[in-house]
Structure formats: structure tokens, C-alpha cells
Amino acid sequence: MLRWILGSREAQSALEKSSVLCIGEEQPQNCFTELQVLKGHFDIVRFLVQIDDFRCASAGDDGLVLVWNTETGEKLLELRGHSQQITAITTFKCRNALTTQTMLITASSDRSLSLWDPDTGNRVQTIADLHSSVKCLLVLERLCLWLSGGEELCVWNQDFQLQCHQPNPSDTGIIALIELPKNCVAAAMDKEIVIYRLTVPADSVLCLTEMQRLSDHRDQIRALINVNDNMFASGSHVGELILWDAIDWNILAYEHILWEESQSASEIRMGSSKPSEMSIQHLCSNGKLILAAVGSGLYVYSVLTKTVLAYRKVAHDSNVLHTIELISCSEDGSVRMWEIQDLPLAAEPASAGFFGMLTFGRSSKHSGPPSKKVLDVSNLKMLELIGDLIGHSGAVQMFVSFKENGLVTCSTDHLLILWKNGERQSHLRSLKLFQKLEENGGPVFS
């Protein structure tokens, strides 16, 4: 579309374009028609957490934690204290006698942990000089405890007192922690998932006992999530997606997402056999569906049918880094929104209809006819791009959604962008305008 200005680069750019899924500039379903650029960080912003309905905190490699008002875009607080990059951040609900207050726990490469009050900006608690830096945090609200995972697994109480700790048997360290029923937690380390149980024996000292080691993954585990009360899922570097029973820790399903194609089509597409292209970067779930970010593609896996419901092998130009509810962000700097659409009626010639729907030019060929062995065509739905958000000039690391109030993205370009529904915002502003008019006692035209 821009070849006219690209001039001599036309041919080359055409080639580049061919591999890119492009929706074009007309996006009627895209409601994010207003944005605010939030500046404040000095380095890559890696983490975003939602504090409440109108606040979120961002943290990154500059060691800063910034608290933002997502309604106005104002920066509310700057939490300074960490000298090195933040490696994990989570919210923590402190229960007092009367109220529940949301606090922030941050972990940093400076081997310290801090508890922050996002209302005042105070650093309430801090623990320095840990043996190693913490890579993941898990809050067990029910037990008023929280866990930190790194090279060792530690359990802390509300007052930042160490309850017990477990030296890590593996050398890679814990990369993810999830809570399981019956006071269990699952920790992903290297190729294994270790289940621990928290128990309080007679001497009333909290104790962490290893229950089981699940070592069915053939490569490093990249993602570990809860699906629902009965299941959790993990994804590995080579594209294995395993669904586990949350209670007895058995495998419920095993999906090797790019297995078939990487075998059958490797001679055609050289690059596809690279493990990085089938690595499961991120998983998210709504209880029924699992959205897996595989390389630069997206796969929707149905927990009920235990099959891939829809997929888009090249959803982004580059690796997908984070997904929530059919929204994905990627290293290519864009955020894309998807919709699962039904295929055309089975009565129609399936393949023709399939191709007819994909009007993305040459890019459609990558979507190719699905391998019948793995994917049942009759069940297959389409993952349709309904909009994309372009704004960041670097990889979009993460985003949080505030539902109708908007979406916050953070990126390696040190910026956060607050995406909003322009129409809604305009309506809100009109409300405010007439409110102010009333306060001022009628129109002020003077």
C-alpha cells in the first residue's frame, strides 16, 4: 500500500509484505480509537499488573515501578528502591481487621523483595540479600502466604517472614509457579513440573513437601497455567502442550502442536523445524479454551474436545510474547485482536470456501490445508484477525486489559500505551463537560 513512497524498495518490500498477515487500515471491529502514550520508564518495560479497576503498575529493567491511573493516563506514583531490573511483580491483598488492601510485591535482580503500598508509594517491607534473585512469585490468598521461586523456593507470610524454604534440586531454577487444590503448588523447572504440598504438622511449623515430579516434557517448560479447578496446562519449548489433572496430576491430554507439520512439511519450509518457531511462549485460558502462543503463531485448544479448535500459524511477524483472551502481542511491536469464526457451511466445498475466506493475498498459503491427521476439519474454526494496534516501536512485552476501560501495553521502547475506546471516552468527556457546566452554574461563555 505504501509502495508508492518506497520507490526502489518496492520489490523487496513486496517480498517482505508477503509473509505478513495484514488486515489493512479499515478495521470496523477495532474499538480502540484513542490512545495515550505514557512515558516514565527509562528502559524496557516488561511487566504490567492491574491493581484495581483504574490503576495498574508497570515495572521494567530500569528497576522502577510506576503506578498509573488508567482512566486519565496520569502517573500516580513512582516506586523507587530497586537498583536493578525487576524480575517479577504481583499484587498481594493484605487483609486487615477491617479492610483488604492491595499491595504490590516486587522482585528484582538486586536479590531483594519489596512490598509496596500503591496508595502512598511507601516501601512497606523489604528483604535484601537473598541467595538468588527471584524469578516468579505466587500469592496464596487463601492461606495469606506467598511464594517466591528462583533457584530456591521460599514461602513467606504476610509480614515478610520466611516460613520455610526448599533448595532447588534443579540448576535452572523455577520459572513458573501455580496454585493447585489441596494446598498444593506446581513449580516448573527445566523439563519437570514438581508438585509441592504445604502442610502444617503438629509442631505448627509450615512445611513444604515434594509430592511428585512430572517429567513428561521433552524440552524446557516455558509456560504453566491453571485452566480451571480440575486442570492445569504446561507448554514446552518444542511445542508440547500437556493438560494435567489438578488433583491427581495425571496427563489428561498431550498435544504436540507442530509435530505433524514439522515432519511432513519440513522439506518445504526449512525454517519451520527450528524449535524456536514451535516453542510455546505463553499460555492463557478461560477455563474452556487454551490460547497458546507458539512461535509467531496462535493456537486455540479446546479443553472439552481436547483438540485444536482454531489456529493461525503466522499470527505475527515475530514471536508472540503474551496473550489474553484472543488478544496477542508480539516482538514485532503490534497487538492483534482475534475472533474465532465458524467456517463456512460444510455443504460448500470446504477447501474453496476456506481459501475464499482468507483474503490476505499470499500470506494465506501458510494457513494451508490442515493436516487431516491431527485436525478434524469439521471441527476446525477460523481464527480471524479483527484488528491490530500499532504504536510501539519495539516489542510489546505485555499488556493488561481493563475491559471496556481500555488496554495498557508495555514495550521495549520504554513506553506504555493506553488504548481506549474513543467513542466511550468521548461520551465520558461529554458527561464531565456538562457536569462542570453545572458546577460552574450554567454556561460560561464570557
Binding site: E74, L415, S426, S430, K436, L437, F445
Partner: protein, 894 residues
Amino acid sequence: MIGSPDVVAFTKEDDYGQPNPEPWPPIPEEFSIPLYPLADSNPWAKTSYAKFTKDFILISEFSEQVGPQPLLTIPDEPKVCGTFDLNYFSLRIMSVDYQASFVGHPPGSGYPRLSFVEDSRVVLGDSKEGAFAYVHHLTLYDLEARGFVRPFCMAYISADERKIMLQFQELSLRFSQASECLKAGNRRAFAKELQRKLQDLEYTHSVLQREEGLQREADPQTRYSAHAVEKANELANVEKSIYEHRDLLKQITSYHGRPRRDPHAAMCHKCMSCIGEEGQILTEDEAGEGEMEEDEDGVKRRPSYTPQLIRAKSAKCFDKRLKTLQELCDETFYEASMELLKETERSFRGDLCYLYTRRLDRSLRRKQKVTNFLFEEEVCEDNDEEVTIRPFCPVNHSVELYTLLKPPHIVLAPEPLEDATEPFSEISHTLDSELGLGESHLESSPSDQTLETQDSSEGTKCSYSSGTNMTKQQDQQHNLDSVISEAPDPDSDVTPDHERESSSEDMETTAGDDEGDHTPVSLLEPNGECEETPLEVCESDLLLPIDTACCMSQDGFLYEDLAADTADESDHNSKIQPPQTLVVNQEPQALHLLQDHYTVGSLSESPAAGLVLPVGQHADSVSHVSVEEGSDCTMSTSTGSDRAHSPFGYGAVVTLRQRRKAGQGALRFVRQYPFAIQALWCLLSGRTLVVLGEDEGRVRKLVAALALFVPGPGKSAERIQAWMSCPFSLSDIYRWKLIGLQRVSSPMGSSLLYSLSRYSRYISILDIDQKTLRCPPYHGQLLSNIADHRTSIRRGSSYFLHLQSVLCRLAAKAFLLTFTHHLHLPVSLEEGPEVVKGRRLCFLQEQLGLDEDDNEILLYLSQLITRQYLQPPSESTAPPCFSFKYTTSDLYKI
């Protein structure tokens, strides 16, 4: 802009310094509408027989040595007055001097009295010269002058007597301020001079006394020798002189205590009060000096003035050099008053029609603060809501002390009475006859405002004789003391006590003052702030006696207060007074008579009477602007041609010429590119436009031209980036609405192009090298008016004004849209957002008659207004919002 932009375009003046051989360029063919039924009657014909092209201010004095002489003109350029005989005109204006200034000793008074005269204001005409003048007489004090007074006058000279008559009140106000300022400075200088003279005299006195004493000691027998008698006489003379001068000093410092009759002689209250105090301080100081001398160890300031011996015989009147105006006046005050006069000259430049249009425009804009930021220049923010006139205080006493003066109401738009033609013909008749008459003989008479000049020192005299007996005695005592002591203590003039008496700020300034003499502090000290900016630009706006309400209601062209006071009188007079006084003999009655006719309007007339600019004598026949247009203008925020638009960015003040050029550039753009309308639509609907080109000059020029279309460009065009050559990011796109971008072929160019294509959804790209435009298509009708490829407008300034009027109308519509409640919020609880949206669309389509694409302009403007109203960007800590749309773009080629 208001109604008839093009007429105004040709009636306003050029900047000085721009060579313009013809005062009024010929109207181009497309505008040659028959302005007047009579082909050869030119509304500006009056200027033809004047020997000067532009109005100017002349300051003359009546020198006691050489008679009337011109001192200076504002602007101070020889070509301003052309062949106009300033000497002759000085004679004319000085000869109407009212002053029978009383000099010398009034009966019953021992000492010479200063005459405190009020200024007088006269309008006179000289039809032979084609010059009419508002003349403001004032007197300044000079110790060396006859009667201590020097008569001066300041005159505003114009070829258009109506301009003078109709602006009389404002002229009077402004000149009064300048005059007050001059006089205040003069009093200060006079007091200073008196102080020095007193020191001289005291010194002389002491020397003489010492000599006498020595003589007596040396030879007591010679007491009655001729020489001794002469010495004694001399001594007595000096003593008398000392008393006289002291008395003068007291008079001058008591100046402020006396009641002023001049309604325009508004002085800063603080000035008045502190000067009043100073009078006392002064006398107390003098009284207290004796005791002051006693504490020798006290901190004493080194005086910078050394007293000199005064010879008994002073120079003869004609030998001495009279002080210049500058020397007569304290420097700060002089500068300030010159600045005031310059400002006056500036603000009265141009044709009456232009002046009034501009004023109307300004007053309307003041009413439209909510939308002004869109397309208007900043109206001075200092203005209060009610137009108040701050009494000019050159010392800049703090603002909170100013009093509210009721400004004379200038009301625009005369409207025809039923018998409008009749008085009119009468007037033209009288004018004609008067012109014939005026050729041979000139007359002038002071306006009645001068009649109250004398008898002003009565009150002061009383206060003196009553209040100062004590101090006088003390003075004498002190003098005796000082005489007895060997020599006058040079330090005695400024004592710590003196400083203690004055306020802290006075201390500061007196300390900074290099002259530590005895002048009353208030007369001497120019306040700190004042020295920097004795006059702000805003002051001019403050001074403008416009009542916006009047303008809005479109009443007659009247000075209301005047008219109200003397309405019946003038009616009466208009019947009695023979109309031949009209031109030259500007009696106040004649003024009213004039107003009655010119202001073909009254307060009772309905507002719908229309905006009629008093273009000329034939105003009623031709210049009636249609009612609709008039009402439209009151709704819209019209703009002056001197709008401060600086597309060149960052605070640079763009001159009128540059703006015209921008208008020209925009016109050229519109004529050159058939897709100009799309580009303008992009700008007006808030889509960032990138002007891509290799040649910096061309890009900058085009950006400057297109900047006219950027809504809310910011005070110093913050939303416009004229030239950049690096790849840009998203924040650039939403910071700037119009970007000039360099096309480069280096590797950096490719990243630049990449950023262009990456953010292509947010921007429109105008490639001036390949002459293409990539932007969403526009199908509306709204802009065809200003982006007509085949427009018949040929002049940039015309186009500029045309554009301004269109944009005004747009802003007005956006205002309406923004503040109409039911277009944004549900009326009842059942209504959903869709209903409201539908109603809004319906309003836009059916009420405003807009297409879908045009709606976007309105919605964008409305959004801007909403945001501005909720939180002006300057106050907001939140980052700005950037709204956009997901639409496809088309590529347009020539």
C-alpha cells in the same frame, strides 16, 4: 471577516516601513462592487487633500522664547507628515490654548503660586490642510520658566474628522493618561530641581553669612557701609528666595491632595496616597533635620549633589536655554508616556471602519473564550471580564489597587431611523457648506471640558496655611541653627530617619538611586518593576473602552455616558445650534449633533438591526450588512487580520506580512492541487498531515500555509513541526498535527519511510515532489467553499480572511454541538447510547446540513473544545489523548 472581509482588507493600513506608494491600492476587478451610487465619491477621498498619509501624534510647545514650535511626532519619521507644515499646525493648535495661566503673586499671598491647571481637550480642524486634530493641552513646571509653567500640547492629527470625533472619548482617555504620566514625571523632576535649588540657596546663604560675620569681625565699623548693605540685601534676598522655594516645594508635593475635576485624570490610588504622605514626610524631615544632625554617628548617606553658590544675578530670560521636554520630566515617566502615545498611535492606525471592525472583532472574541483556541489568536488574557480601565501608573503600583472606571461605551452599528436619510442629507449639506466656509477662515474653540481649569489651587492653599505653621517654625529654627554652625552639613539632606519614614520598597529604590538628594521619595523613586516594563502590551487592550455588551447588542455608535448625560441637551442644541459648527468648531454640542446623525441608532433598536459599519457618509445606503451575516458573526468568533499565527514555530512573532503570505500560500495550494480539499479535510478533522519533500524551503512554505488550517495550533504553534528529517515515532504524530518531513535517500531515509508506512494509518502523506496525497477520501461539501480548485479569489489576504470567516463559522457550529446537552447525553432514562448517537447525527445532518465526512470535522472540533474546557493542556498532567480512525486511504495524483 465580519460580514465584509474584503472591504476591510482594503481599508486597513500597511505597516510603516513598507513601501506603498498608494495609500489605497486599487480594488481588483472581482471586488469592484459598486460601493456607492455616485461613481466618483470615494470613501477615502478625504485623505486625498491631506498632505500626510497617515495619522500621527504631534507634540508641540509654546516656547516663551520662540513661540509655538513642534517638538516631535509619533511615529518619528519625516515621511509620516509628508509636506504637512508642522510649524504652521503647531501654531494652530497652540493658539487655541485656553490658559490664562496665572503667574506671580496672587493678592493676599506672599509667595509665587504654582498654578495647578487641568488639561484641556480640544478638537479642531483645518480644512485647508485637510487635517483634523484632537488637541490635548497640558502644562509642565519649570523652575526657570516664566511663571514656572511651560505650556505643551499633544495632538492626534488625522485627515478624517469623523475618526477624531467618534473616538474623542478614547483619545481623550489615552491622552489624559499620557499627560498624567508626563505631569507626574514632571512634578518629580520639578521637585528634584527645587531641592537642588534649595540646597544651593542654603549653601549660598551660609556662605554669605559667614562672609558677613567675618567682615563684621574684621571691621565692626563698616556695618553701614555700602558694601555691607549690599551684602545684607543679598542675604535677605537669598533668604526670601529660600522661603519661596520651600513654599513651591510644598505646593508641588501637595499636588495630589487637591481634588481633581478632570474625570480622566485617573491616578493610581497608591501613587496618590503615598505622594500625599510624602508631602508630610518631607516637611517632617525638614523639621527634623536639626535633631538629625546631632547624632553624628548615625548612618548617613553620601550626597551625590554638591551645592553650588548662586550668584545674585541670574541669567536673562533669553540667554538661558530652556529645558527640553525630556529634561522636564523624569526619565521613566517620560519613557512611559511616550510608550503610551506610541501605543495610542498604533491602536488608532487605519481607517475608522477597520478600527471598528477590529474592535468589534476583539470584543466578540472576548466573548468566545471557549472556542478561541481553535483558530483565533490569543486575546490578551489579562483582560478582566468587564472591560476596566486601570488608571495608568507608570510606577506600576500593584494591580489590585486599580479602580474600575466606566469606560466610554463605543457602540457599533448605526441603524437607520425611519427618517435616516433626512438628517443625513442635512449633515452632508452642512458639511459641504462648512467646507466652503472653512477654507477661508478657521475657527476652533475649546470644548467645555476645559472650562474648569483655574481656581484649583484654592484648596491647597488652605491646607497649607493651616497645617504647616509648626513645621515652618521648626524649619526656621533649623535654618538658623545651620547658619550658626560653620557650614551646612552635606550629609544632612538624607538622614536615616528619612529612610525610616519611607517604606521598605522605597528604601530599596532610593538606595539604588544614584541621587541621594532631598527630593520627596515618592517623586523620585521609580519603582523597580516599572523600570523594566512601564507599559505592557496588554495595557492597550485594557485601555480600549469597549463595552462588549454594547457591541453585542449592536447599538448605535455612541458614547453612551456622554449621550446619557446630555441627551436632552444635545437634542435641544441640535435644534438651536446652527450646523455650520460641525466641522471646525467642535463644540460638545456639535459632537452630539454629529453623533445623532452618524449613530443612526439608538438603544431601543432591536439587535436585529444588523451590523452596519460606518464606512462613509453614505454608510446607510451601502454598507448594510445583511442581518443573517451579522447574527452569524455574533455567534462565531471572528478573527482579526492581525492574528498571531506562527507556523514558523516556537514563539516567533509572525508579522502580518507573513500571515498574508501564508494565506497566499494556502491559496496557491488550493489552486495548484485538485486534491487540496482532501488535505484540508485531514487537517481539520485531526488527522496528522505529513508534508514530504526534498526541498526544505518548499516544505516549510507549504507547512506555513497549511498551518492556517490546523485547529488549535497552540499559542506558539506547538502542534506544528515545520521541518524534521529523522524517523518519527507515535508520540511525534500525536504531538504534531502538521509535519514537514525531509525525503532523504540515505539509509536513514529507508527507516524514515518505514516509520511512515508503519504509522500510515494515523497520517496522511502529501508528497510535494511527486505531487501525490495519500489520505482517506473526502466526499463532503463543507470545504468546497475554501478549497475550490477554481476559486476566483486572487489575493492571499482575501483568501485568508475568507478562510477565517469559514473557520469561524465552523468553530461556532462546533461550539453549538459541544454544548448542546441532548446531543451527548440521554434525555430520559430509557434512552440508550444509540439513540443519543442517532440524535447527534441527525443534528449534524439535518440542522447543520453536513455530510458524513464533514461530521468528522465538527466532531473533532467539538472534542477539542470539550478537552479544552475540561482541562486546558497547560494545566493537565496527563498525557494528551490522540484520537484516530481506522479507515482506508486513497492515493490522489494530479
